[in-house]
């Protein structure tokens, strides 16, 4: 086995194992929850990520492979129309069978078959297999983040306020907010995908990050850290949620329809603010980045401050020289925290995904790959907005400067926050 193959195999075991590790401490009942149509039961995530390997690697490439269960093709297909019809998303919580135990057995069987396939030396399709394998691993990492955000949403609906992680959260004082200026001008953005034959888990990028292309940026300034809870509380207390002038039209409609008064998971008790977190029901830390805000709220906050959000090109330009490190997923911490750094462009990576004011559109020259895998990213390039930088729920190694995450402007259940910017 070549070095690449060994690396891929090692990452495969590690990442597959991590999904199951995320379920430790939870009860079977917890793994079956679906709080809204946008979320899926953890059990479903465990099965779907397995289905991905089975469907896109084992079925086409493993000789004599017998599908583990013919019905799973329908049950665990998320949205790949080219593969076939899908069990209705809002009903995923109705799938009591296969049970958790059965899903874990499905995982084990597919893992074994995938590893057997990796052992076959230099099959002519090895480069395609490797490409899909690395894609599958990155796919599974995306679902690892969703497992945490979906779980959080679901547990929050239980008045018993279950605690997922009993570790204590670190706190520290909030530094001031300053702006760094950038000249902009001609620049190159995005990243081309590497040749599948040479792919490694570390060199991977999604197709939506490319092709690398030229752009022009006017001069701008960017805040050196995300907006924190203390600053956001000022907006709340200044009547921000009752003042249409700060809001986009659709945002104001959402405020009224959904009766938003503060970020998701917050409660006011007297003069204090509390939030449901994966670490329990805690008082809001003013120094930590605000999270679980929609883009509507992010834009309203920025307007109230006379500022704006980054465009995604600006964000990438700033981040391109910064090592993709920060408060990403760690065993002891699944909540954004305040930063200990004294200066520099802080918390670009980790803690909270940062809403940009850029629509999620194809880059010049982008074309989705043919076949079912072309549905991975391309068909979502409409109506959604770009977030950058990863969060406290993002697996380490999964984020980079060119990474484009995307959600609808009203979505709040991700670890989504705010970084301010302005024109110069």
């Amino acid at each position: 086995m070549d070095e690449h193959a060994a690396l891929i195999r090692s990452r495969f075991c590690e990442i597959r194992q991590h999904s199951e590790a995320l379920c430790e401490g939870l009860d079977v009942e917890d793994l079956c929850l679906q709080g809204m149509a946008d979320t899926s039961p953890l059990k479903w995530h465990l099965a779907h990520t397995t289905w991905f390997f089975e469907t896109f690697i084992l079925k086409p490439f493993a000789r004599h492979y017998q599908p583990y269960n013919e019905r799973f093709e329908y049950l665990f297909n998320s949205y790949y129309n080219a593969v076939g019809r899908q069990y209705p998303r809002p009903l995923r919580h109705m799938l009591s069978r296969p049970t958790v135990t059965e899903v874990l057995a499905y995982r084990a069987a597919v893992d074994e078959a995938v590893q057997a396939l990796l052992d076959v030396p230099s099959a002519p399709e090895q480069s395609e297999i490797r490409h899909r394998l690395v894609l599958g691993l990155n796919h599974e990492q995306q679902h690892q983040e969703l497992m945490l955000t979906d779980l959080k949403y679901c547990l929050s609906l239980n008045p018993l306020q279950p605690v997922y992680n009993h570790a204590e959260l670190p706190t520290s004082g909030a530094g001031g907010l300053t702006f760094s200026e950038f000249e902009g001008g001609d620049c190159e953005l995005g990243m081309n995908q590497v040749d599948p034959a040479r792919i490694t888990p570390g060199s991977f990028s999604f197709d939506n990050e490319g092709p690398r292309h030229r752009s022009w940026l006017a001069p701008f300034a960017v805040a050196d850290r995300p907006v924190n809870n203390g600053e956001f509380i000022e907006f709340v207390e200044a009547g921000g949620y009752r003042s249409p002038q700060w809001w986009h039209s659709d945002g104001w409609a959402a405020v009224q329809t959904e009766q938003w008064q503060m970020p998701l998971y917050w409660q006011r008790e007297g003069q204090r603010y509390y939030a449901f977190t994966l670490h329990g029901y805690l008082e809001v830390d003013p120094a930590a980045p605000v999270c679980h805000v929609s883009l509507y709220e992010a834009l309203a906050f920025a307007a109230w401050r006379g500022l704006r959000l980054c465009r995604e090109g600006e964000w990438e330009h700033v981040a391109s020289g910064v090592k993709p490190d920060g408060n990403l997923w760690r065993r002891n911490c699944q909540h954004p925290t305040s930063d200990r750094a004294e200066s520099g462009m802080r918390q670009l990576y980790g803690d909270v995904w940062e809403w940009t004011q850029s629509a999620y559109s194809p880059y010049p020259g982008y074309r989705p790959q043919a076949g079912a895998l072309g549905e991975y990213n391309g068909k979502f390039m409409l109506n959604q907005m770009v977030l950058r930088g990863g969060s406290v729920a993002t697996p380490p190694g999964h984020i980079r400067a060119t990474y484009r995450n995307f959600f609808y402007p009203a979505d709040r259940w991700q670890f989504s926050g705010i970084r301010l910017a302005q024109d110069l």
Copy 2:
């Protein structure tokens, strides 16, 4: 301990145990399903029926009783506004905690406390306690029926078609349908509640069955058995679901909105009809009573046959001399079957609840009891329609001639069927 007390205690153990026995063979995941707002997870039924004893007996009457968990009052209150607010019904499936194990512990603790209370000799409140205990047992029996119908609905949404009961269903030939004539005239209907001091599980009736009152019935005839599947298939194949003339206005609207084409759980494959049952996915037995039809469908079928349904007074008049026995819940059978009897008024009790054309209204002189228990029946006496006779999911001993069940005209997930009638 007196004889009544011994009897009550024995029934208490038996009925409480039966609820748990219904869950045998199911996985934890199955107990957490909620397929629509009208259904509840089996786990919730197990907890709510326990809450009923805790709330209405232990809290008011057991000295020094400490609530098992203060939050359960909110979580497991179904609809008793006088007790307090309720966790939203459509979200019951979100309560992964308490877990199944924890709910069973809750059941055990309450059972123990209730039995301890029964041991206290001749407390002045004993007659009220007994009354509530017997009410609580009847309440639990109602939930036992719902556990089966809710479970069936939930499992039916799973393409894997889980089988709850592996026993084989009996079949036999269908007898012809004949009508028995009744003179009617002055009659007495309904049943007064017995003195709480003398109550036994066998003498109980719900408040909505009384007071006993006079009524007048014009001459009528009633079919000697429920409409069977074979007869209903004729209606389906005669275009019954495409012909507005047979339907009430609201029924026709439901047909179009819900796209009904046959009873709930049925599928047509070629020329044959199959149905999802608690015994698996089976071909429809033409000789067995049709079930899982709404009142709209029952009325349309009757209109197509130039007939009508019973009024509830007629049904009770017919049933008052018949022993309340039939295909009620049995370990080996949770699906209506054809009857072996050759003659007589067949299957009045058991197999399927029979829709009547009577609105569920208070009888003359009815007044709901004061306090929270007055909410048990009274506040539902509007918009719902009466069904009579019990079904294959009704616990034996729980049905009688005066028993009034009630559902909305569009409801189909109960074991609800059709008995025809006509004017003379």
Copy 3:
């Protein structure tokens, strides 16, 4: 021409003319409003009532009759599936064509053709024609009431608060509320339809009023007048709309969903109550009957007073000896007023329709007529509740003791009020 024919012709002219007279003082724009799916534009009522005569009399019976406009069959059919499909009810306001002028021309043409048909002496079908003609006139009178209630609902949505009738409303002091007792017992209820050959506008009844049948009434007492606004304000101010204990389950759901706080059209300004009426925006007269309450509110009010509503048989029993006279439609008054009578069973007829606690069901022996006209009443005998006695919007001569009106329990836009009753 015989005497009956002359009478029918005279009533035909009178009633047809009255529909148009109701539109006097309104602008073309007012005639086109549709405030919700349950209401129709006045222009549509004018056309539909004409369509009724064309469809059920001219087309089948007038020789060589050419349909006025083939498309009208689809546009102005309300709900007769046997006639054909119907233009969607919620979109009736979209029919700018035919214009008001064109609809009036349609009316004139149909009126002329109907009268020509009446001139033909002793046609063999004359008795059927007469029957349908009298039915058509009663149908038009029903729409005359709807024209006023629909108009009121529509105008109420306009912040300019248009005034339909500038006449001043009479007021007088409120008398006390006393109860009259009735023995009940065996009685006959309902009314058989007269032989079509002998029908006169005065002897008509709808098929749903019959057949006359025997019933048995337990002793009861009935209030001598409807609940008035002053009494209802007490309920409002006692927190009636915030107290679930007075409400049926579905009623309480409606209170919360619809955010009801007082009767439809009411506004509180400081300590006073005002209401939008067809006579303008006026302070609520405490002595006048409360109106525009749903059955849910009527039942909650009665429960709060420890009383109940009449059953329809009770109401009819009381009314059967009373001349059907009262504050029905008059040129100068389209709002319920307080009564000047000092004693007796006051305001049984007119002012407000009185909700009963009886579901709208077929009487024993009722069978709808064959064909399209059988859809007139029969298919609505489910989910709706009976109101009795007519209102200030009911044309004089259109009401009688046996008359059964019916609406859904949540409906509030009719002139619907409350008469209390109790068991003895």
Copy 4:
């Protein structure tokens, strides 16, 4: 009066008059229709455009001006939260009062007061007044287009298929579709607003068109004419509406929910396609541009052809050298037609608005103006997509290369079409 003032006054009369001229041949009833929440009655447009002048010019600048009717501020405010609350948009059809006659009187009164204000020589606020006046005229022209599209939508719901314009539509053969190539590179896009003191109707631009800014375009090619009906029919007949692979995820959801099968207003009869137009119900002309397609359909069509839509910068780059002329509004034609030109970049302006694949976002440096007029464009810069080039319903003189129109991706009732592009 200076020359500018004279010009503005002349345009004022002309444009105000044009709105009323659009209503010629319609009945009062037609002016009151509202077919869905997105459309408004023509009467409302007539009043709202008048309200704009009254609110933003007369109230702040005309001395001693008395509001025409205090209530109109609420009734005819569209979405300016800074002005106050608004009558609910979906209920605009409920405003039978003010009548059409009253609205025309309102228009006359405001027109008179505005012209009187223009007579006042060199008031210090004249430049702001002029700016707002020109804005108000451009605003009214936007509503003129909406009057036609809203009217079309409303009339289309009437089975009588009313004809608005009896003129015959020109037809001609369809030319082939060729692509012109553009190098792109550095370019300047957008347009700065002129100094209000120097504004003329001809030099106006909306704030959303600026500021003028630098951008970079990769090489691209653009089709020389819009996609025509013949080409779109091929897509329909190739099963385009049944093939998820061509659609964005949200687009495919819309196809299924809305059951789209072809463009809005089309019907298939046998092998032929017909469309409801403002000129009546006509067979679809294969050579004319397809219109009334959503962005979803435009993108799916492009994907099926292996092509894409323009980005808005590309479109503007192409159009910047082209005179803004074409099939804009003409008395005899309110439907897109085929082009007579043989070559060149055809039909860039007029006929159909061309969907771009660009989200409607603020240009770099854009800041909405302070106060209520800042709500004109800014708060809509989210969730909507840019269209370019004007249509057959756009008033001549109202379109230019930098003009940005915007609608939601699912909107179909505008004259919206497709121009294809591709990467080079």
